[in-house]
Amino acid sequence: MMMEPPSPRPLDDADRTIWDWQFSVPGFGERGQEHLKGASVMVSRVGGLGGIVAYELAAAGVGRLVLAHAGDVKPSDLNRQLLMTHDAIGTSRLACAVHRLKELNPRLDVLAVEENVSDANVAGLVAEADVVVDCAPLFVERFAMNREAIRQGKPLVECAMYELQGQVTTVLPGTTPCLACLYPEPPPAWKREFPVFGAVSGAIGCIGAMEAIKLLSGLGEPLAGRMLSIDLRDVRTQEIQIHRRPGCPVCAEA
């Protein structure tokens, strides 16, 4: 079951000029653009994956982004975090990201929170969004967003990458498996620093952004109940059917 699209906001002439190329996409049209303009999407964090997701959503004309990311730009961010710049090293990542997003789309409304997702802030962040896109590098943040998205009945796009591989699935509360269905225990082997190319985050982030666009506009079919896995080493894709886990402590009652 797809989500109810957010309330549409009327387009003006400038909107029509900027997003004209999208209107002719079958199943989208001006109505789809109105839904994007009326939408709010949470993206956490805005590093390698989340930066691409946020940039593509800003380019597509999503009206509002809710961004959560702490810390300052480091030199080692720059191979993949394309919203960051060399000149911004040592300054706020989020400020740099917002500046870049506004350069592309000055009409974009941004709620920027210079914190990473935690149990303390996740409810308020998710409440600000119609859709959540999870691009966090730590499972503790992912599980917090999953739990809160399920509780608030918000769709959650799960994007992750490692080395030349990536995974994307879309969680529809009460309909599809949630992250805790897939991983009922915190994965012990995951480490914060991992091998990756920026082009991998670009590829996976674009798919995640498209999932959000589809959810918001009613276009196409999201990866609901399906896990897309891509290996860019030999450019192979795999899609697996995933199932809700009976008795899942997070979503069984959803």
């Binding site: 991983y183 225990e185 994965p187």
Partner: protein, 91 residues
């Protein structure tokens, strides 16, 4: 009979191979196949696959493109493709 086992995420690093052909007994369960592979590969793969006497619940396993919910009750067919994914969280 033979099946293909493909490793994803950090499991691939630990297995040191992207995929492999495995000879299994007819009727072998997914759990027994993975435990045999843990034994054959040794560490570090073994401790990523096992949890106690069984299979780690943090693995996402699919057989012929369908998630395996109960590895001890699921059996492979000749030519099956078993995919074993470690949870990844790169963001």
């Amino acid at each position: 009979m033979n099946i293909t086992v493909a490793w994803f995420g950090q499991l691939r690093d630990a297995a040191d191979v992207a995929e492999q052909e495995v000879s299994i007994d007819p009727g072998a369960t997914v759990a027994s196949v993975l435990l045999d592979l843990a034994e054959a590969h040794g560490e570090p793969l073994a401790s990523m696959l096992r949890r106690g006497e069984g299979i780690a619940s943090t693995l996402l396993v699919s057989l012929d493109d369908v998630q395996v919910m109960d590895p001890q009750a699921t059996t492979a067919s000749p030519g099956s493709r078993l995919v074993v994914m470690a949870p990844i969280s790169g963001g």
